[in-house]
Symmetry: C2
Subunit: 493 residues, 2 copies
Amino acid sequence: MADQKIPNWLDKRAFLTPNRVCLVDGAVSWTFRDLNHHAQATARRFYGMGIREGDFVAVLLDNSFRVPQIIYALQYLGAITVLLNIRLAPPEINWQLQDANCQLLIYDAGLSDTVQAMKTDTIGLNALSYDCLQKLPEATVSLSPRIDLDAVHTILYTSGTTGRPKGVMLTNGNHWWSAMGSVLNLGLQMDDKWLICVPLFHMSGLSIILRNVIYGIPVIIQPKFLPKAVNKSIQEEAVTIVSVVSSMLARMLNELGQDRYPESFRCMLTGGGPVPDSLLKTCREKQIPVYQTYGLTETASQIATLSPEYMDSKLGSAGKTLFSSELQIGGEDGRKVPGEVGEIVVRGPNVTQGYLHRDSEKIDAFRDGWFHTGDLGYIDEEGFLYVLDRRSDLIISGGENVYPAEVEAVLLAHSAILEAGVVGSESKTWGQVPVAFVVKKIGFEEITEEEIRTFCREQLAHYKCPVRICFVAQLPRNAANKLLRRKLAEWLK
Amino acid sequence: MADQKIPNWLDKRAFLTPNRVCLVDGAVSWTFRDLNHHAQATARRFYGMGIREGDFVAVLLDNSFRVPQIIYALQYLGAITVLLNIRLAPPEINWQLQDANCQLLIYDAGLSDTVQAMKTDTIGLNALSYDCLQKLPEATVSLSPRIDLDAVHTILYTSGTTGRPKGVMLTNGNHWWSAMGSVLNLGLQMDDKWLICVPLFHMSGLSIILRNVIYGIPVIIQPKFLPKAVNKSIQEEAVTIVSVVSSMLARMLNELGQDRYPESFRCMLTGGGPVPDSLLKTCREKQIPVYQTYGLTETASQIATLSPEYMDSKLGSAGKTLFSSELQIGGEDGRKVPGEVGEIVVRGPNVTQGYLHRDSEKIDAFRDGWFHTGDLGYIDEEGFLYVLDRRSDLIISGGENVYPAEVEAVLLAHSAILEAGVVGSESKTWGQVPVAFVVKKIGFEEITEEEIRTFCREQLAHYKCPVRICFVAQLPRNAANKLLRRKLAEWLK
């Protein structure tokens, strides 16, 4: 298309179905007109503060109606939302704020301790609580009823094998095409209602508050994941779709006991790796339709999905690639044949065009128009994807990604540590948890596990901190001196 | 998006859901794998005949499975389908074939009389029946699994007020965005099944065979509109959606008598002007959900739709503009306010970029990025569209557009006719039928109505031929000598 502009999603939705319920968050219930009203008012406040098209505004918010309000306000101005993980440690957040060169940070009053610990003034950043923002006067500005599909909408940070997190740039178009791929996969019913119990600062949660506006369906926002509350909502509030990760599903089923979900519940959208067979068995018995997915922040949520009809015959598979996307298994020597293991490479209008300020890493990740995920897998004769290994050493703990290299970098910053290696250890509750192997420096033999763990907690989000520190004389390395994390995994056993 | 390519729709659909039923046409029942197999084989035959990317291939086919087979075959090669109205007279078809510079014409054996009358050899065109095409060998060619959203997919001819038909260029992207606008409006259920009883050479029918592949739902193709057959299909074959025009709906309800449609039937998508109140009353009583639409070939089918919930409160309205499109009421002096009548102007990624070989008319129709429809209407305070007049003098007869200027041009070609003016006369069965007012040349006083009607039938599709010729001494004209068709309409009464 010559013209890459389409109507602003919220503006259009509020025009089409102003009186439909848009979101329910505890006692707050907003129609699409309400959300539009609040988002536009907030946009005018942002404008009054000097926020303009192309500016970066960081958002540190708990799950609530405030998140869509702020994100849609920024979209009205063409400003970019930098979504921060509220579980990160202050130094981690600071690093991201500086990397994205944010003009402003909006935070929940409940997170003011984190913000104070960040010392935002030292990095010259304006930090404002949501409540203070709401008290600002509304400036006079004409808000555009159109958005540019090529404009960046969100920055979400994700780490790689190389240490420091990278800001994934997601455009309006990336989110739009992801929403279209999903609707062609899951369908869209007039009575659909999506329950949010995953973080809104993750791609999984973010995608829902974009889709509900594009689709015109309500969402129920829960502040955090509590299995009982989720089950109650599904059973009593006519929820039809829920997004979860495997470990959440296990806890929900455990809490559900002998109960069942209503027949109108039609989709348990499950990310974060294949659902274990034992869990699938329970789902089969209770007739819970599980859609297992594979996706990355870089693909603006899921890019492959396994329909419930295949959950038996294609056990362990993440299904087929969504309608407007492509997926192949690549290798050094080109495309792999069915059954052959290689790197999962993807392309499509939902796939990011790159990382913020990381042109060299973009060149590395994008070759011949394909994004190289770093994940290993294969495709069977019928085109079903099997993911073997997430991004080489990625640890997935309770749905959160933990990159060993990032944790190792923090460990190595400790004056007593010479070498460090981090791997995932299996956990019934979280799927995996990080465990560290550490070589002490000479002269620092007295350092204790507890001292190191305290150090980690100051620098890292809680879920990234090693649950165990194993002191060893040396780490397994190959001839090129590269750390062999697989060996560490064997040591664990 | 930098990348305007997405997976070929049929290739992707056949990959995702190979075994789902794609189409049912009498005794023929094809899965998506079947359609893909036949389309690919046909693409190889076309390739063997020398058809390449960007070539124009005309299609003169009755409603049947052959239409999607040919259209998807051509899409695989990046060739452009010129969809011909089978009701046109041979000279009309000839004109379009030459205008589009078609390399090839594919026709149904049942239409060979029309093709013979066209004398295609005199215009240097290769004409081949569908059956002969199927007997050709398949060439070896690698078919691209991707399509370019900016590439032209179809040419559909539409006339204007200026006489000769113009070829509307519709790209893959136009059709795609139209399909997305529709799915966000109507939803998409796993059990959806769309009945086709409108012509596949019209935008209304074409849009269905594109959507069913994109959405992954089956269509039932009926060779022509027979109210009884349509009702039977809705009642016995679990049809959920039907596309019709007002006059068809009237005949269906008449045939239905005291019967009803099953509850699973969820959408009567109705084009061709507002549904009369008496008809809506019957639909209300029978709980038939009527979606009244406004659309043009240039917008790749409907661009506005009135949901059933508004069919009482917004009587006569065509509803609101679909999600990714925009619509305004324009005037000489800019945008009109609610309630003010003006020209309906539209824009969006579903709107054509122009007419084939008609750059000057493009400039005329597109101003400031908006396509000027020539239709008159207004928007109420809530944004509901009311269409007052289709394209100034357009006559809609049984869902077919009849442009007075085109019929007048044929009349004026008759040696006995000095002046001619054509207007629509109300018809219970067809909505409107064309009636001509004619001034004879001196010396030709003996010419009869029947002679002129016979002349018209040779030159024009049957539905365009005036049902009555009124001989008059002179036609009403304004000071600039412009024909006043409104006066003619008054004369009729």
